[in-house]
């Protein structure tokens, strides 16, 4: 009895995927539209995409940009957020700026950034960087703010200086919240990457997608959707594993994250 | 008024083990009696109250109110919880008016009645305040007024003063008795404080540690109305408290020896 319960829990996401694919299959067969290939047809197109050298170069470029953008954002945003969380002065300085940037669609800045920095990697990486920074700053900020005063007092009594307290008490204590922010950032990185590639087509997965659309290769279009979807789910699952391991000691937080667009 | 007939309650814990909370409880509560259920933490006294309230179903046995089986909650048995459980999106007046309105009373009548009740519990002037603006003691007064508003025949009080500081608690105990004196409803009052139980009740039902069983029922023969200042110096009150505490200590020692 117990075995089957945990088994169904772990199988649930796979079952959900299967269910969705099934719905797709039936819908496409039912609608019988040329531009709506069945799930099976789309899946069959995947190997040819993954085998094509050109596509792989595109994918590599995408992933590289995503990694750099995400990495830079995390390295800069976490300390910034932590400092904002513990120092009112720092917070008041950056808060207004961030509040204004928040509603602006980062990927929409693409054309403007392209105007300034050309159509290369830098533009796209910058957009990813901006997109990831905000949630990470916000969550680091919130996490740092919520650290119990008494913990810091204990640290001060032990002789830790302010920057030491930030690094050795605030950072670990805020880590669960920070990692939640990173998870959101990861999702955003993928989305911003795809979107920026759809807007400024040069290279990348988004580019492959729209090229296929333009050339009427509908199987490829849907196959790419599956691949990108798998990437999204895969990254998220991997990150979640890592996060759970790192913050094993913390209390359970909201189990499904509030994923942003 | 209330008959509890060989009630057992088993809970399934998250570790998939069975926890026996109540073991063969039989109890009769007369109309108009103030009965306390007294016991240490975890003895199932709240569970017993919830069964009478119809919020929890017994695993075996039955609870009956005026002869009819209790199958669910209802306005004849009004709860007052330790956590207050006020509706945070409604003002004090809104909370107190909820029950009567639910029962179909006209707005004007419900409002008038509620205002009178709010005054009776000592919160006149606070009708438009929201729960988050009130202190613990005030919230509990609202909770009491809210329950009284729909005229239950039985008041089910689950350690209502447990979350309050000592001073507020004694004040509310006095106020509760004053209010109760007016119409002498049947009250089932759960507590872990011996003094509270003796001070308030006509009868104290002592429960053992988990699994909860009734160890003894003590009739409290003290005159009413009861004044705290008088009672604290009354040797009969002191006797009751000491005896009941001793009964608890003896019991727990016996259990430790086991």
């Amino acid at each position: 009895m117990i075995l089957s319960e945990t088994l169904t829990k772990r199988a649930a996401p796979y079952l959900a995927c299967l269910g969705l694919l099934l719905v797709w299959q039936c819908a496409s067969l039912g609608l019988n539209n040329d531009s709506f290939p069945t799930a099976v047809e789309a899946i069959r197109a995947i190997p040819s995409i993954l085998g094509d050298k050109e596509s792989l170069i595109n994918f590599a470029a995408s992933l590289r940009r995503m990694a750099i953008g995400f990495g830079l954002a995390v390295v800069i945003s976490i300390p910034l957020g932590l400092m904002m969380g513990r120092s009112r002065a720092v917070a008041s300085f950056f808060n207004p700026l961030l509040m204004v940037i928040y509603p602006v669609p980062k990927a929409a800045l693409m054309p403007i950034i392209m105007l300034w920095l050309g159509v290369g990697d830098i533009a796209k990486t910058l957009v990813i960087f901006l997109g990831v920074s905000l949630p990470v700053i916000y969550h680091s900020f919130e996490g740092a703010k919520a650290v119990e005063e008494k913990m810091l007092w204990s640290g001060a009594a032990m002789g830790l200086s302010a920057p030491q307290r930030l690094r050795r008490i605030v950072l670990p204590a805020a880590l669960p919240e920070i990692l939640t922010g990173c998870r959101t950032g990861l999702v955003l990185a993928l989305i911003t990457m795809i979107t920026s590639e759809m807007i400024a087509r040069q290279s990348g997965a988004g580019n492959i997608l729209f090229n296929a659309l333009d050339m009427g290769q509908y199987d490829t279009v849907f196959a790419m959707i599956i691949i990108i979807g798998a990437m999204g789910i895969g990254f998220d699952a991997l990150f979640e594993r890592m996060r759970a391991r790192l913050v094993r000691w913390s209390e359970q937080q909201l189990d499904i994250p509030l994923s942003f667009s | 008024m209330i008959e509890i007939d060989h009630v057992w309650k088993v809970f399934q814990t998250s570790a998939r083990q069975d926890h026996l909370a109540l073991s063969d409880i039989s109890l009769a509560i007369e109309d108009g009696a103030f009965v306390s259920i007294l016991g240490p933490s975890g003895c199932g006294k709240s569970t017993l109250l919830y069964i009478v309230g119809g919020f929890v179903q017994p695993s075996r046995g039955s609870a009956r109110m005026k002869g009819k089986a209790i199958t669910g909650p209802g306005p004849d048995r009004g709860p007052v919880f330790q956590e207050f459980a006020l509706f945070p999106w409604k003002s004090v007046l809104g909370n107190v008016m909820y029950g009567p309105r639910q029962q179909g009373m006209k707005y004007a009548d419900a409002e008038a009645q509620s205002r009178a009740l709010i005054e009776m519990v000592g919160l006149k002037g606070f009708e438009d305040f929201y729960p988050k603006e009130l202190s613990g003691g005030m919230k509990q007064r609202v909770a009491l007024a809210r329950t009284l508003a729909y005229h239950p025949e039985v008041l089910l009080m689950d350690e209502p003063f447990g979350a309050l500081d000592a001073h507020t608690r004694t004040r509310l105990q006095n106020d509760l008795l004053n209010i109760w004196e007016r119409d002498r409803k049947t009250v089932l009052f759960v507590t872990h404080s011996v003094e509270e139980a003796v001070f308030l009740s006509d009868k104290v039902v002592m429960m053992s540690r988990s699994p909860g069983r009734i160890r003894q029922i003590v009739d409290i023969d003290l005159p009413r109305p009861r004044r705290r200042t008088e009672l604290l110096l009354d040797p009969r009150y002191q006797r009751y408290v000491v005896d009941i505490e001793r009964l608890f200590d003896d019991g727990s020692e016996a259990e430790l020896e086991r």
């Binding site: 959900a16 709506f36 054309p111 392209m114 659309l213 789910i233 | 669910g72 909820y98």
Partner: protein, 259 residues
């Protein structure tokens, strides 16, 4: 006293905007940015006003707003009903949770080409994309809000005589309201972003399209105008939603989430 509080909040909210505009102007005036790439704010705003007087621009705004509202409204209706249903019924939850868990990290924008193929290049594809993206935060926060309702609140209402079928509307929904409205706020921001992006990717009209067209002709000023417009629209809509939220939740426990 309340009016003054609102006024000070409004003023405080304007300060960052004023600062940003000031920074912008400074960058231009001090020559850090060439005018061709970063036109001065004065120029942009006057162009914006100029555009607002034209019918064509107003129609673009109307298109964008239509898609925004349609997508957002559908997302709210679906998200709240499914989220609350999943919180209340374990059966529904068992089905919904894994599906949401799979779909949530999926970049919905990747579905956009599929939507274009299925329903064409008009309003529908954009509305559907907005719905797809705004749905999840609303659904998740509705689920969270409804599932964390204190049991004792429900018991109190039941004891007061509320029949089970009314508990949902009289207790669960009001108690979950703060969470639901937070989710709606997030959903609204996402809707603004997504509609704009979708219009940038492929469209024949709308604010995003205006930006892309201007980009093709390297008209910097004309590129900033739609961007500022959507940001302003976003701020206004957000403000309206906040006002609605304050009204609905007056007196309720609120957590101060700035930013």
């Amino acid at each position: 006293m309340k009016v003054r509080a609102v006024a000070t909040d409004l003023l405080l909210g304007l300060v960052p905007i004023a600062l940003l505009v000031g920074l912008w102007q400074a960058l231009v005036s001090f020559g850090y940015a060439p005018v061709a790439l970063l036109p001065p704010p004065g120029q942009v705003f006057s162009r914006l006003l100029q555009q607002l007087l034209t019918d064509t621009f107003r129609q673009e705004i109307a298109s964008t707003l239509l898609r925004l509202f349609a997508g957002f409204s559908i997302a709210v209706v679906l998200g709240v009903s499914v989220g609350v249903a999943a919180a209340v019924s374990p059966a529904i939850s068992a089905v919904v949770r894994p599906i949401v868990g799979v779909l949530a990290p999926l970049p919905k924008v990747a579905l956009y080409p599929a939507l274009l193929l299925l329903v064409g290049f008009g309003h529908e594809s954009k509305i559907m994309l907005v719905t797809a993206d705004a749905l999840f935060p609303i659904l998740l926060s509705s689920y969270y809000g409804a599932s964390t309702v204190e049991q004792k609140l429900i018991w109190s209402a039941m004891a007061a005589g509320t029949p089970p079928h009314q508990i949902l509307f009289k207790v669960v929904l009001p108690a979950a309201a703060p969470s639901i409205l937070t989710g709606c706020r997030i959903g609204l921001v996402i809707s603004c972003i997504v509609v704009f992006l979708a219009e940038m990717i492929t469209s024949t009209d709308g604010l995003g399209h205006v930006l892309v067209t201007a980009a093709r002709t390297f008209q910097a000023v004309d590129m900033f105008v739609p961007l500022i417009t959507i940001s302003l629209l976003g701020l206004i809509l957000n403000g309206l939603l906040e006002a609605l939220r304050s009204y609905l939740l007056r007196g309720f426990l609120e957590s101060d989430t700035r930013f």
